[in-house]
Symmetry: D2
């Protein structure tokens, strides 16, 4: 793959916070080359550096800063066969369909098509085979989706347990970062010295997406997993990194050592295929009393690894633990990139 020519790609919704992460992560990507940035009509025509209120810690490169922002239409972004979507859900539905109808492979971080029966909802380490569901789509292009940022960390942590012991039920309470709300997002007066115990639609997403992702590909459909999931979502005063307190009831008895081994030994298709964005270890188990913490552990594996810690018995279900993942890297742009790499590796893009 390294000696082949890089695939030209475009980013839709490139000026928002997830779009900015796409742009940041595509710099120097070995397989993909960022050729076009597109955004709403309000931004179209301006230079990217002026249209985007760049809020990433890493400085914006002059080349990318100078790219003209294009409108979100297939005709406007050149002949990129692969398109990343960080569009707002108010427009993503139709725009992504238009790109797929124009023959592009759309890898989307938006919620609109995630639960469509013929659209794969994929975390590459968890359900890589679901990618094949695109063959049920009308073509000539395709839509693949990334789960919600708070679902990703959860299913990564659950997958090794589901494989080894089976999962009957899950309770999860999230403490989610401000960057998940985009720009301008949460007003500072609501964020400072505060927690907001509500994120619109988030709990339903976690509950439904988790069942689809842990489900089984059955021909042209996904049979959802038989797992009861209850979620409660909170916005906390953290810049990046969603922390989640999880309790699980397993189908098979297991010791703390069994769970720890399941996490430590976990490796999956992205690691086997050595996809460029795949972390060496998708799950990092931490033994410190007070880990994981957003500021200390969100960047593990370049922001692509979920960390797990504080494993202890649950008086109510079987086990309690804490998991953390970087919401705008693994939980959004980085996760979509890894998914696109998986799609390429499985031959979906020629």
């Amino acid at each position: 793959m390294t000696d082949r020519k890089r695939i030209p790609v475009a980013v839709l919704g490139a000026t928002g916070s997830v779009g900015q992460r796409f742009v940041e992560l595509l710099l120097g990507h070995p397989w993909f080359e960022l050729r076009a940035v597109a955004a709403s009509d309000r931004s179209a025509g301006r230079a990217y550096r002026e249209a985007a209120r760049w809020l990433q810690a890493a400085p914006l490169s002059p080349e990318i800063g100078g790219l003209p922002v294009r409108p979100c239409e297939p005709g406007a972004v050149g002949d990129c066969p692969l398109v990343f979507s960080a569009l707002d859900s108010s427009v993503a539905g139709e725009v992504e369909k238009a790109f797929a109808a124009a023959g592009r492979v759309v890898v989307s971080n938006s919620k609109n098509h995630r639960m469509d029966p013929d659209v794969p909802l994929v975390v590459p380490e968890v359900n890589p085979d679901h990618v094949e569901l695109v063959r049920a789509q009308p073509g000539p292009g395709a839509i693949l989706t990334n789960p919600n940022c708070s679902t990703i960390g959860l299913v990564l942590a659950l997958k090794p347990l589901a494989d080894a012991f089976g999962i009957e039920s899950v309770n999860v309470v999230t403490m989610q970062a401000l960057s998940g709300a985009g720009i301008p997002g949460v007003p500072s007066l609501s964020a400072l010295d505060n927690v907001i115990p509500f994120i619109a639609g988030e709990e339903e997403k976690i509950e439904n997406e988790t069942r689809k992702i842990l489900g089984r590909l059955d021909g042209a459909r996904i049979a959802p997993a038989d797992v009861t999931v209850s979620a409660a979502c909170n916005r906390v005063s953290v810049i990046d990194g969603h922390l989640e307190c999880v309790s699980v009831k397993l189908r098979k008895k297991a010791s703390a050592g069994d769970l720890e081994s399941a996490w430590r030994d976990f490796s999956a298709e992205p690691q086997a295929r050595k996809l460029p964005s795949a972390p060496a270890a998708p799950i990092v188990f931490l033994r410190e009393d007070d880990a994981p913490q957003p500021r200390l552990h969100r960047d593990l594996g370049g922001g692509m690894a979920a960390s797990v810690g504080r494993l202890r018995p649950c008086p109510l279900l079987d086990w309690k633990f804490v998991t953390l993942s970087h919401n705008t890297i693994r939980g959004a742009a980085g996760g979509s990139l890894l998914l696109a790499e998986l799609a390429v590796a499985r031959g979906l893009l020629k």
Copy 2:
């Protein structure tokens, strides 16, 4: 009560963050008069304003600022029959016993004696009759205790449900304020842009104290309630106010309206007796989508009311909701004051 002379009181551990709240709340108290402040030997002898690093929003009054800090010995605080303890648990055990042995009624916010079989652990609206357990103590004084700050909000929210429907099990995930860790407490580098998913001993306290408080006074002992409690505790970047995401399984079927009514109609002995620190409504039910929030609702009822919101069905247990209470007012100093008022009203101090 208003025309009787005020009871002279002392505060032990007056320089710490809970001690400072005691001092603040005792200013102008109609029944109690702050006569002495005591703290560790390191502070003893200095003026209170110099010994305490005053961190409350309300400015310290000159009179109190000028009080000399005394050592924590019964002989050093004059003849105050009532003593509030905000002592660190490393010393509270012995010091409180010494004051009780010297005939003082000690109302303590420390954890040391909470689970002692003959020591009442009381939230005045929840288990006021447990106060009578002190009659099982050797005397001549007595020790009464306040629960842990994160337990108080929980049991206040649970009590009306326990009375009306019975509670079988509870899952609670807390997001606790920094002031709960005292001074110096959490380093700012650990608090900013971060969550710490661990508070030493806190989960056990919530699980055990809840069963004792919801239990039944049975002669000279408490029969703990038959409730399964699972807690996960987190420290978030909030100054005051513990927020808790709760799920409950009830013993009797109930509708959302039933739960809401149970909370809205809740009133208890402190309200009936019109105790000075009792909030008009101990529980405030909020209907906004995104309430309660620490910064907006922690001061309801002067910081003495718990707020409850976000009631919705739980796919796993029966109901999910969010509760909030002010950790250094209701959850510490204010709760102890109310308990002392209850003790006076029930005739424990003559």
Copy 3:
């Protein structure tokens, strides 16, 4: 004054952050009675509690919460002779003129008319006589203005020095609170772990307003003070309270003790007239090494006192010090209230 009937008042722009403070401070005001709240057409017609995203720590009372929001027209707010304006500057100019033309006395917190030659720009302790400048206005109503939030703390601290020693030049660097930017204001991603070293137009306001306020009423105009002012403004991660690092060059030699006495002894017309919103001491001089601090001292004098501390020699000018004032109380709504009280006391409202 206490036995006369309260003056009915309206608040224009009542849903924003300054508007909310007006509403909060008018509750229980001895001279004024809040009769109407007005805001943009988008909010008009809705109940105040729904139109305003209430973000004050003190809970909104049910009565005020139920007031219908009116459009910002003289005919819509009843016959209130006194109107407080917290309008956005994009509309304040015309709306305030319309109210004045309709015979109302408008006390405005907006910047639009501050530098008009016939409009008084007043801090009641600093230049109360400037109120008389309204007599130069066409009538039948009048417009009086409050300075910018960051100017107020500065001129309060400067006034006693100007009176006693004369001021030649001032350098001020501000660290301003987020609430000064209103709602939604600063995005949390720009506020957390950050400082923004720019506030549009703010430096010019401080430099110009200070000269007008410290100037002399000369018939129908103000002769600006002959003071060189240089300002640099920053937005910091603080909820309320503007902190300012000030250096001054005096016209007359003075010792640290002279300056301290000038501040400690300072009292002015609002104190002499015992205006309801006047703090007992307009300036609180603090001797601690590290004071004033926003969270500890912003509420001094009910948020109406400026605090001053850290007085030390300046190698460049004469003296350096730090001053703090509450930007949405003294620096906005509270300052306007005090100004309205002054106008009433001086007989401007009959």
Copy 4:
């Protein structure tokens, strides 16, 4: 240099926040190889990962985490000819002397010897020739020092102006990050929703160190620069990055364009010698209205570049601007590394 063997180095005070940065930056350093970590007796003997409460965003490598912590004695750290000191000032004075007496070259971030007449105080781009002052030291080793973290950004920004136009006076107000206070450092209750307008000894350091650094090497002494400096220092709620509001009076008239060119064109010995830690451009001039900001620009040049922006005329002196530098990289560990590289390049270590 690239093909020669790496120089073995030790870090003294390796467990604190600056020490951690040294460790982080030495990983993979092309010239230096971290061989030993030393700290107080309390930590000595434990593995580094256990002794240090690792608070950097980048995860600690297992090899370094496993290094045993040694006592701070020349005999305990092997035969490292080069030693970095991040010691607390309570012990740094004697320990550093002992290492120098034992023939080691000590590059120190501590304040103790900075103002010693025979000790160079060096920012490599500003006064590289001052390094030669060590030849005045008794030997056989040497002590070189890094300025205070808040001085470094200032002198970097001043140097091109001093060279081109001469500087008569400087006023600087700092807004400094929490990491500058080390661990545990500022309590979170003092940092959140607050500014602390005082940092012990900091203003004196800026005022004195700036004159020494901008001074002239005159044989065996430094003739301090004839510049009046006035500093006011504040601690703000920022994790990393000191922001400074500066006003300067120049000796020669200059336009905004002249200043901007002086900064943009600035390059110095570390760039000419291509020292490994030297940023390509030591000063990055930013034209945005609201730049630099700590979270957006502190990592420019890998944290080794100072950024400058908001240039505008000053009514009092000549020009005002804002400068930012990363306090634990350029302002501490990174600055010391660069200084050590300069010392090696100038032949001080054989």
